[in-house]
């Protein structure tokens, strides 16, 4: 076991982890943050996307111990004082979800894309979300939502 300290959604969490524990399971099973979904478990689908020091990563392909000393933001950490994050609000308004399974990962990938200034056009958004799969094929409204959120936060 190894002692780590990870700041998750602004709160410092001290944990004893086995080195082989994947970040997504640390979040879901150790910290009960089950908003982050496990989809393919092979770093393809993006359902487990969270922010690591502000950048999107697939948490099924990061070891918990690799996040020692880092800041993690999950879908639970976006809303502030009861108000949805602009990307969450845009997903709501544009009906950018069907079954909802990919949604937390899509939202986190979109937040990273917008914050890095790479959501400036529909083409850029489509390419920027290449790491996230929606098996309902609801991409059109997702892209609309990200564009709407990007224009609000720009």
């Amino acid at each position: 076991m190894r002692s780590v300290a990870i700041t998750v959604n602004g709160e410092r969490r001290e944990l004893q982890l086995e080195p082989r524990e994947l970040l997504v399971y640390v979040l879901r099973e150790r910290l009960a943050l089950t908003g982050t979904n496990v989809g393919c478990d092979t770093s393809s689908c993006g359902a487990c996307t969270v922010l690591l020091d502000g950048e999107s990563v697939k948490s099924c392909t990061v070891l918990g111990v690799q996040a020692d000393g880092c800041e993690i933001t999950t879908i639970e950490g976006l809303a502030m004082n009861g108000a949805l994050h602009p990307v969450q609000q845009a997903f709501h308004e544009q009906h950018a979800l069907q079954c909802g399974y990919c949604t937390p990962g899509m939202v986190m990938a979109a937040v990273s894309l917008i914050e890095s200034g790479e959501a400036g056009s529909e083409k850029a958004i489509r390419e920027g979300l290449e790491g996230n799969l929606c098996r309902c094929t609801g991409y059109h409204n997702i892209v609309k939502a990200v564009a709407a959120a990007a224009s609000v936060t720009a």
Partner: protein
């Protein structure tokens, strides 16, 4: 999928990493982990110990080194894509780095990790081969420099020996006389290349003086398409030269494509790469 148990140490310097690596013959280095962690989860890799070099800032850089650029092995794909020196002097590297995987992968994966993993389906190995890059390998007794032509030795196999680590990659600065292209074909945007072709064409007095063409996922290692290079240098048109793109290759058959289809794709993609390189 959960990896088998392993010990874990965080290296605080390159020398520290080498000392940790030397203390355990079954230890492996981990950088971004985007090749190794999937292998750990499938349990096709079962190291006794991981030595984490992912935070060694001393090995994350792109530096001007005269007629070359020196790239630290721990430079991540996104940093390569956005690097001003690479964009100006060796844009085939920055552009190709932006085509690897997807944003999440590019936030974590490193050039050194990709090259050391030796996956013939990865993008940067063929680019390094086409560029004639030099790879700096550090071991207990010092450094040695291995040319890209001798670095890739088989599927997931490289010239890096036990107790050694790749620390730096040196690529030539390209001038306006050199056109470049990397064309990649894959079934889904984020997939590994089914086939890809890296092309560099060196112009002289308005004509083509030399060409350097390398293939991704057409054999156990990235391969130079020497028959194509010779044909181009002898004055063949891109369409004619590209007919030789699969000569001497041994492409795999898998769910993405049969070997025969890959050979066909190599000719199609290769022609596009040559034409794009000639236009730049």
């Amino acid at each position: 999928m959960i990896p088998a148990a392993f010990d874990y140490e965080v290296a605080t310097s390159a020398d520290h990493a080498l000392s940790l690596l030397g203390s355990d013959p079954d230890a492996k280095l981990i950088a971004g982990g985007h090749s190794l962690i999937p292998a750990l989860k499938l349990r096709v890799a079962r190291p006794s110990k991981l030595v984490d070099i992912g935070r060694l800032g001393e090995l994350a850089y792109v530096r001007d080194a005269g007629d070359k650029l020196a790239i630290g092995a721990l430079t991540r794909y996104k940093a390569l894509r956005d690097d001003a020196l690479l964009q100006e002097h060796c844009p085939i590297v920055s552009t190709t780095a932006g085509l690897v995987g997807d944003p999440q992968v590019r936030h974590r994966g490193t050039i050194g990790g990709s090259l050391a993993h030796g996956d013939p389906a990865s993008d940067l190995p063929a680019v390094m081969l086409a560029l004639g890059a030099e790879l700096v390998i550090r071991g207990g007794v010092g450094e040695r420099i291995v040319p890209a032509t001798q670095f890739f030795t088989g599927v997931f196999q490289t010239a890096i020996g036990p107790g050694e680590m790749l620390t730096e990659i040196r690529v030539p600065k390209l001038t306006g006389a050199t056109g470049w292209s990397y064309v990649k074909l894959s079934r889904r945007a984020q997939d590994w290349a089914t086939v890809a072709v890296a092309a560099l064409v060196h112009r002289d007095n308005g004509g083509l003086a030399a060409a350097s063409i390398a293939l991704t996922n057409m054999g156990a290692t990235p391969l130079r398409a020497t028959a194509v290079e010779d044909a181009l240098t002898a004055g063949a048109k891109p369409t004619e030269a590209a007919e030789h793109m699969a000569d001497g290759t041994d492409p795999p058959s898998d769910v993405a494509a049969s070997a025969e289809f890959r050979a066909h794709l190599a000719r199609v993609v290769g022609k596009r790469a040559i034409e794009e390189a000639l236009s730049r």
